[in-house]
């Protein structure tokens, strides 16, 4: 595919992907692969994210100070980076979640006003 469309896709998903990562980490620290799996499972496989784009997302969140990481051992005894939410990240999650809710409700109202008719 053309580079431009690829980047468009990235743009669209950046904010949402970050939110999903944050949400996943709310339940506790996890490593990269586990996060990817959790997102897939959590959305009943509706959201198929290219797993590669997870990493830029993780680093964006690290840069913003919303998550941090530690070295640890994964379930099959391999060393891996474990990511977890920071206090700021928790605040941001709450903020973004409420924004999403507002957005979703507004969209629903516009797309389906028929209920009133």
């Amino acid at each position: 595919m053309s580079t431009k469309r690829y980047h468009d896709r990235i743009e669209l998903l950046q904010g949402t992907l970050d939110l999903l990562i944050l949400r996943t980490l709310r339940l506790g620290p996890a490593h990269g692969h586990a996060i990817a799996k959790a997102i897939e499972r959590g959305s009943d496989d509706v959201l198929q994210v290219e797993q590669g784009s997870l990493y830029p997302g993780l680093h964006r969140l690290i840069k913003r100070g919303w998550i941090t990481f530690d070295e640890g051992t994964s379930e099959n005894n391999r060393r891996a980076k474990f990511y977890c939410l920071t206090a700021k990240g928790r605040k941001q999650l709450a903020l973004e979640t409420s924004r999403w809710d507002k957005l979703a409700r507004a969209m629903a109202r516009i797309l389906r006003p028929a209920k009133q008719e």
């Binding site: 990235i10 799996k37 797993q51 590669g52 990493y55 680093h59 964006r60 690290i62 100070g65």
Partner: protein
């Protein structure tokens, strides 16, 4: 940034682990290992792209933040336009002034000649009897040219002198230089049209050719290619123009423009009266050479010096005195870098320029002090905003970077405005210099890479310095304390810093004031020198008929007629004509022996000579001490007369009467032997206001035919210069319609000799006043801030009955610390500085105490006034209002 590195560490491993994990999962689902891995990779997507994007996150966000910083900075600055304007203007003044002076330093001292590889060029100097000189005679140059010194060329060149030149009949005055045949080949210049001079043009019987400069070609020969090969008339003699030098090349003398370049061999034909200058006794050429690559300048110099004794035989002539010959033979040659050409301006103005450069740097530092203070004040005012940002997690570094960006934008703006100021200022300086006798028009002050680089450098240093100061104060801020309205430790630091800043500013201002006072007094001393004549109201008119008249008798007649007619102009109180005038830059010296007078050495026998008509002394108000003035009957055929100055009498005759004694020029032609002294006049300065008046001898203008040539009319008017000048011009035009007649008030001619002292005094005063104003402002701001800090305390004191003057006293006492410290440092600095100023002052010692004392008083008063204003406001406050509103 460190976080990013840590996070990126092991990224490859992480991704590999991720894919491995997915592979394991797939195997668990039942796929074959190969299929599992393939599916895992597919699911992951493009690995290298993922890595790239991840790394880009750290770069991208940084750039993004910088963009944010810049936008935010612009927004805040726009909201505080006044503040931004003051900062930009203040810095621009400092940066601009610095760049302006540096432009001159660059043009005069640093810039190399526009020839290939100018760093290979050297100039040859000689040290004779301990005195250093840089002029050689024509035979000396020829000897040096032939010497096997391993040089890639050597030539002699004169400084530019005025000649009448031009395509007939439009003859004007042009600047001409005389060069030896190897001039252009050593410089390695290529003509843009035609050819340049070659050694065969510099032979006695070669046809007369000349090369013109690009500017001259365009201006006077219309830039026409067919002008090459056509003659122009130089001093009445046709000379063929064979070529044009490249644009931008104006000769070897910086500040002069060599419009016409002629070979030395042509001198006797173009100016027959100057034929003697081709002999060994006339030293007037500067010598340059090109050192081949591979040889160092020192090596070339040593080689040349060792060859000189053998060569020097060609440079002496039997007609020179034995001492003169010996001096030449024993001269020591040295070479110095010559890539920047030579300049009379340079030797004169190098020191003043360095002084001005130092001064202007001080001004910049003082301006920076004020700006730093402003920035600090603003940072403190914004501490509310900053504390919030710190509290919600903005990194301290981020905050500092934000402030830094603001400062940077301001500095860049200041640099841009500064360039404009620099342009204006350097042109102003040039205009001031242009009324001088030296042709400054040739000085190229277009900004080149070096000037722009310098400008950026000081702007950058300023920005960094200011940024560091602000960052240092912000670094001390503690968020929690800030939010409660407490200044959080920043104020103490800030107040302490501000106090020292102001002290520093005052110190630098004192140094500038003392310097300026020295220069102003020097200038005053120059203006008050007893010159021995009065120049007020005297107009000088230079007439040079040699281009149209060649017979001496005819010239004498013309001058006679002109003098009579000029004396008849209404408004003219007296008029005379003479060969030279005092401080004109021209000088005739010769050895003179008085019959029965003291036997003097060759050197002591030298006197300054001038040929003057009757009424010369009356026109210039020079006192006649004994005997009589020349009259109209002192003409050819009458008894040969002479008038001498006081110091002449002292040196040659001691206490004896001079009138009636006989003197002769020794050596001299028969016309200048056995002259009777008929009068004695007071001493007048001749070439230099600083030196004592030299012994002077005057001969009657119309009695000595040898003197006929370019002469000057002195006209004492009743003040109406313009009318007299135009009348005189009409009269002269009637007899000599084609020549150029320059007129200058004598007072101007005198003033031109201390032009650089005027320049120094003017600019040093300007800088000093500017510095004083800025420092006073700084002190005012400091005291006002301190008063604001102590508002409550002062209000309480007033409420419990303190007098207003007690409050003022308290505030002022507080302010004395920075003032006192500043003055103390300033005095030390002035004392240190004055050691370097000896060559620039006249009539007073640079360590003159009265200067320092006077300026200290001035600065102290200014400081006190600056502190008094806010003190008074504080004392005037309504204490109850303040306390109630607390």
């Amino acid at each position: 940034m460190i976080r990013g590195k840590r996070a990126l560490d092991g990224l490859d491993q992480d991704i590999r682990d991720h894919i491995e994990h997915e592979t394991q999962d797939n195997i668990a689902k039942g796929m074959t290992p190969e299929e599992a891995r393939r599916q895992a990779k597919l699911k992951f997507g493009n690995v290298s792209l993922a890595k790239e994007d991840t790394r880009a996150v750290w770069v991208w966000l940084r750039l993004d933040e910088v963009r944010q910083d810049i936008r935010y900075a612009f927004r805040t600055l726009r909201r505080n336009l006044g503040f931004a304007a003051v900062v930009v203007l203040t810095l621009a003044l400092g940066i601009g002034a610095n760049t302006a002076i540096f432009t001159l330093v660059n043009a005069l001292l640093l810039r190399q000649l526009p020839v290939p590889e100018p760093r290979q060029l050297v100039q040859v100097h000689s040290v004779e009897n301990g005195r250093r000189g840089d002029v050689f005679s024509v035979p000396a140059v020829q000897a040096l040219q032939d010497a096997p010194a391993g040089l890639a060329g050597l030539f002699g060149v004169s400084s530019a002198g005025p000649l009448s030149a031009g395509p007939a009949p439009a003859v004007e005055q042009a600047q001409a230089v005389w060069v030896s045949g190897t001039y252009f080949s050593t410089l390695r210049l290529q003509p843009i049209v035609g050819r340049l001079l070659v050694p065969s043009d510099d032979r006695p019987n070669a046809s007369l050719v000349a090369v013109v400069s690009h500017q001259y070609w365009r201006r006077r020969l219309s830039g026409r290619v067919d002008a090459i090969g056509q003659p122009i008339v130089v001093q009445g003699v046709p000379v063929i123009v064979v070529g044009v030098t490249p644009r931008g090349f104006a000769g070897l003398t910086v500040g002069e423009h060599a419009e016409v370049t002629l070979p030395l061999a042509a001198l006797p034909q173009v100016i027959p009266s100057a034929a003697g200058q081709l002999e060994a006794g006339s030293q007037w050429l500067r010598v340059f050479a090109r050192v081949p690559s591979g040889t160092s300048i020192e090596q070339a110099g040593t080689r040349l010096a060792s060859l000189w004794p053998a060569l020097s035989e060609r440079a002496v002539s039997p007609r020179m005195s034995p001492q003169g010959q010996q001096a030449i033979r024993s001269a020591m040659l040295t070479v110095v870098p010559g890539g920047a050409g030579w300049s009379r301006l340079r030797t004169e103005y190098a020191d003043p320029l360095y002084v001005l450069m130092g001064g202007v740097v001080l001004v910049l530092l003082i301006a920076c002090g004020n700006v730093a203070h402003l920035l600090l004040a603003r940072a403190a005012a914004r501490r509310g905003e900053m504390s919030v940002r710190l509290a919600i997690g903005a990194g301290r570094m981020r905050l500092v970077r934000q402030l830094f960006t603001e400062g940077l934008i301001l500095t860049i703006g200041a640099a841009a405005v500064g360039l404009g100021i620099a342009y204006w200022m350097s042109h102003l300086i040039l205009r001031v210099l242009s009324v001088g006798p030296l042709d400054v028009v040739g000085l190229d002050i277009t900004p080149d890479g070096r000037v722009l680089g310098f400008s950026l450098l000081i702007a950058g240093l300023t920005g960094i310095g200011l940024g560091a100061v602000v960052a240092w104060t912000v670094a001390a801020m503690r968020p929690a304390l800030l939010m409660t309205g407490h200044s959080g430790g920043a104020t103490t630091r800030r107040s302490w810093a501000a106090g020292w800043l102001v002290a520093g500013q005052l110190a630098l201002s004192l140094m500038l004031l003392v310097g300026a006072a020295l220069f102003v007094r020097t200038l005053r001393n120059f203006e008050n020198v007893d010159t021995g004549f009065k120049s007020h109201g005297v107009l000088l008119i230079r007439v040079n008929p040699t281009t149209v008249v060649t017979q001496r008798a005819e010239m004498s007649q013309i001058f006679q007629t002109l003098l009579e007619r000029i004396r008849g102009i209404p408004g003219v109180k007296a008029a005379a004509v003479s060969m030279t005038t005092p401080l004109s830059g021209h000088r005739w010296t010769d050895g003179v022996q008085v019959a029965g007078g003291a036997e003097l050495s060759n050197e002591d026998r030298q006197v300054t000579v001038n040929a003057v008509s009757s009424d010369y002394f009356r026109t210039l108000s020079t006192r006649l001490i004994a005997g009589r003035d020349f009259t109209d009957s002192d003409t050819a055929g009458a008894q040969k007369a002479a008038i001498v100055s006081e110091s002449f009498v002292r040196r040659h005759l001691g206490n004896q009467t001079a009138v009636g004694r006989v003197l002769s020029f020794d050596p001299g032609p028969p016309d200048l032997k056995d002259l009777y002294i008929v009068g004695v006049v007071e001493d007048t300065v001749q070439t230099n206001l600083k030196a004592a008046a030299p012994p002077t001898l005057y001969v009657p203008f119309f009695q000595q035919p040898l003197v006929m040539g370019e002469s000057t009319f002195e006209v004492q008017t009743d003040g109406s210069f313009a009318q007299v000048a135009s009348d005189a011009r009409t009269i002269i035009r009637q007899t000599l319609p084609t020549i150029h007649v320059p007129m200058v008030p004598m007072a101007d001619q005198i003033r031109q000799t201390f032009l650089r002292e005027r320049l120094l005094a003017m600019f040093a005063s300007g800088f000093a006043l500017l510095a004083l104003g800025l420092s006073a402002l700084g002190l005012y701001a400091l005291v006002r801030h301190r008063v604001t800090q102590r508002t409550r305390e002062i209000a309480i004191r007033l409420a419990i009955g303190a007098q207003r003057w007690e409050v003022i006293g308290m505030v002022l006492r507080d302010a004395t610390a920075p003032i006192a410290v500043g003055l103390a440092i300033g005095l030390l600095g002035s004392w240190w500085m004055s050691r370097y100023m000896t060559s620039l002052v006249f009539g007073l010692a640079p360590t003159d105490i009265s200067n320092a004392v006077a300026m200290t008083i001035v600065l102290f008063s200014a400081g006190l006034l600056a502190a008094y204003l806010p003190a008074r406001r504080a004392a005037m406050m309504d204490a109850n209002l303040v306390l109630r509103g607390d």
